[in-house]
Symmetry: C2
Amino acid sequence: MRAVDVIMKKRDGGSLTRDEIRFFVDGVTNGTLPDYQASALLMAVCVRGMSANETGWLTDAMVHSGICVDLADVPGIKVDKHSTGGVGDKTSLVLAPLVAACGVAVPMMSGRGLGHTGGTLDKLESIPGFRVNLSLAEMKAALARAGCAMVGQTSQIAPADKKLYALRDVTGTVESIPLITASIMSKKIAEGIGALVLDVKTGSGAFMKTEADSRRLAESLVSVGNAAGVRTEAVITTMESPLGRAVGNALEVVECIEVLKGEGPADLIEVTFELAARMLVLGRAAGNRDEGRQRARAAIASGAALERFRQIIAIQGGDSWVVDDPMRLPRAPERHQLTARCAGYVARLDAELVGREMARLARAAYAIVWVNPLKGNPEYQPLAGGMRAALPFCDRFLPGHNLESLEELATVLAGIERRHAA
Amino acid sequence: MRAVDVIMKKRDGGSLTRDEIRFFVDGVTNGTLPDYQASALLMAVCVRGMSANETGWLTDAMVHSGICVDLADVPGIKVDKHSTGGVGDKTSLVLAPLVAACGVAVPMMSGRGLGHTGGTLDKLESIPGFRVNLSLAEMKAALARAGCAMVGQTSQIAPADKKLYALRDVTGTVESIPLITASIMSKKIAEGIGALVLDVKTGSGAFMKTEADSRRLAESLVSVGNAAGVRTEAVITTMESPLGRAVGNALEVVECIEVLKGEGPADLIEVTFELAARMLVLGRAAGNRDEGRQRARAAIASGAALERFRQIIAIQGGDSWVVDDPMRLPRAPERHQLTARCAGYVARLDAELVGREMARLARAAYAIVWVNPLKGNPEYQPLAGGMRAALPFCDRFLPGHNLESLEELATVLAGIERRHAA
């Protein structure tokens, strides 16, 4: 088989065979296919698309580029959750202990922040001492003791995805439903889980900007998951504004603790409970979603979910006292207030802009507090984290005149960056 | 400017700016743009196309990736000819001395064989001693003495094309009208010529299989040439069967000598005279094409064209006696006759199949004679060349039952290859 023939077939809109797709993925994995041929094929797939069969074969080939985790000795149906990525999207940190507290094992394997979106691993690492790189044995031990584990993918899981993603990132081939599907699902299928709930984000702050695209992605993900024997459901949720009121690793941990204490912002609670209910139904801990919601509410009311969070932090080497004393989390070296020029309500807060500016600051290792004195939320102010893993707090209280305020925000951020880069 | 943004713009069907295109070409030329990004963009161009403006800018950027030859001190309008590539397409070898004999300077820069098509340089090099790698000073001296020169492009001309073509060849991005246009025209524009006649081949043996595609390519080439100040015309000619009766480097040289002597096959003569007439009009040596044809015919009848060929061979270090004694050309080590099973006429001879088999034999350094004893053309038999530069003769005399005979041909060719590979 010649790579150039496979590339030309896809270039002309043809359907690739299972063998051709495996040839491509194997070549990427073992380095026999040069990057320039891989990227040409990725671009052809991006523009021409892939059928459901091709997407399934691609996913399967990527699964088999590495190991498949065997969790058969962990009793029950193992359920994971995956989000396609948003700003302030911290539900994973709540879901793992919450669903575990309801009796379903959650072997959660997460990723890093990507583009303007945050990453569960980065957030967890803002907890002093927290280790996300557990061995498989450690992960199984954590599952046995706490019913959940929150770890990163090892390099042995779907190594083809790592190589392909690095290439897609620099060749403008990230935005492709079949490629996104195979990237997400290959890693999830290789995890050894029995069921999966997907949170497909839609809107200006998501990778999928329209509901139609999000629905197509959701359908593709669910179809590939079920075909591979992982019972898969998807929820499409909005990502126009950041989820909750905190954006930034340490600040998001604090907000998660609030939710586990029965507090926290309504939008975050709503999304978290919807996902928890589905995970509980798929894990056979609830007969239907209503029952699942009730069980989740009870686990929070009883303190069981919060206790589980404390437990898993301790098991994974973290400082579990952060649950009681958020001041133990890292803090930002600089804090700024953006004063609204007039009283009013926030009509809209652009998630992508906020996410992008925060990611920029995180790279520069600095953070910002962004508080509106007109409404005031001073309880957050001392919690604004610094250090690599810390990102700022933001709340929905820009005045109605959005553009002016967003420009002001950008100006302040640029000033901080300049000062600290010097 | 970020390469990935340029790639994504084209991926989504956008039009690139002049600066973006120059950024891409400069990056390829100086090696700052990685191959995987270049190939992703090439694939995006392949699938999404380019506007006339973009194609012109791409050509211009490729021209300026290297030097532009200055032929200002050679008097008159310098005219070149370029063919998009065919099988048995040997017109260049006739045209250079013929047009020069009519008073128009022909600084001909040609290429090597590509895929199943032959290359002018390979054919010329079958003449013992012939040097195609002249310096610019040597080329100007040849132009001054003989009115023509037949050379290869130096590496200083459009170096971006060399890199891009190598990448296109292995990434399935050869077949793209804007990319083909920029590749051909950048080299021709950099040659320092004033006018150009293009022979755009169409049919099963050409790169463009349909007349519609050939017309689109011709229009693109002519438009880019004229916009760059090179008066450009194109002729679309058929390439279903090989042009003339000889395919193979040494054999084609012999056929060219025949044409220069006023003999040779009708189809080759027709194409050659049409191109010569246009070159003479563009070079202001004829008022119209009819007059051009008359001048060309006269130059052949008087022996002036043949004399010019002899002269340029000698100037470029070749054995000019081959004009009088074709036995001095290399010969094939093996010769085979394919006997037709019944008398008849050849309905069709697939140019691509013949070209591909011949290129395969040339790579293996072996050649074949392919003569039909029913019609007999024994005068060619002793001329069949061997060595690297020699390829076989073929004539249009397969019996009507084509498929059977072509299979027979393939079987014989495979047998030769096996024997000599052992």
